[in-house]
């Protein structure tokens, strides 16, 4: 069965997401992500000095940035005293630039591509947001949650 909605029906305009420059700090990103959270968008779009989209910042990227360096070496979970050390050095981490943590906008999908192809790219690249292009023109972004609803709606014949 084919999806009833086309990929272009699911595109979210870039202006709906909070924007920030790549040299912005993690602290600024947290403020923006909190704003985004209220509007049910869970990412901040990152731009360069020519206002070109260069990346996306997700909650996981922020958490990664806030994690104390020593904790990154624990593969089987962190020790229980980790919580008390969360604030140690956090001021320094909050001042780091988002370009260090953002997910780069490396993969895109064409506006005429199928919903299944978009889903496949998202799974392969482990991303929840995919820029949609029409030729050289960036049309907006596609969210995994919208794809999920469309695909499951078709699968369950809703």
């Amino acid at each position: 069965m084919e999806a009833k909605k086309k990929l272009k029906d699911l595109i979210i305009p870039l202006s709906e997401y909070p924007h920030m420059p790549y040299w912005g700090t993690l602290r600024e990103a947290i403020v923006q992500l909190n704003v985004a959270y209220e509007s049910s968008h869970h990412a901040v779009l990152v731009f360069d000095e020519a206002y070109k989209l260069v990346g996306m910042l997700f909650q996981k990227d922020i958490l990664k940035g806030l994690e104390p360096k020593f904790a990154q070496h624990y593969e089987d979970g962190v020790p229980i005293f980790w919580d008390s050390l969360l604030k140690t050095g956090s001021e320094k981490r909050l001042g780091r630039q988002v370009k260090e943590f953002m997910s780069k906008a490396r993969f895109t999908i064409g506006v005429d591509d199928s919903i299944l192809k978009a889903s496949h790219i998202m799974l392969e690249e482990e991303t929840h947001l995919l820029p949609v292009m029409e030729g050289d023109k960036l049309m907006g972004v596609l969210r995994m949650s919208d794809l999920f609803h469309e695909i499951t709606r078709v699968v369950l014949d809703l």
């Binding site: 870039l14 202006s15 420059p21 000095e49 020519a50 206002y51």
Partner: protein
């Protein structure tokens, strides 16, 4: 022979930025100047999206438009094509401003 599209400097060993076609010093200058506008645009854009009062929305949208146009002019002065993202942003915030202005005109 590589040539900078802004200052016209050329030379066999001149390093040109692939994306912009500018020599390293023009590219650096563009980046520094562009950063100022990009920062202003993102701030105004984010303010516009949390503003509730149509008057404030219109004010911040106008700022996005103004700074966006200044960044456009900067692109032109360096003989660069603006990004589609920038053009779309200016167009959508113009629309948003007009609709916010209409709203507070009706309220008044």
């Amino acid at each position: 022979m590589p040539q900078c599209r802004k200052c016209g400097k050329k030379g066999l060993f001149l390093k040109i930025e692939e994306v912009t076609g500018l020599c390293l010093s023009c590219n650096e200058r563009f980046a520094q100047e562009g950063k100022v506008f990009t920062e202003r645009i993102t701030t105004a854009k984010n303010e516009a999206s949390i503003a509730k009062d149509p008057k404030d929305i219109a004010k911040f949208c106008q700022l996005v438009e103004n700074y966006g146009n200044e960044l456009l002019a900067l692109h032109q002065s360096y003989n660069l094509h603006p990004s589609q993202e920038l053009l779309d942003l200016i167009a959508s915030y113009k629309k948003m401003r007009v609709s916010a202005e209409r709203e507070f005109m009706t309220e008044a």
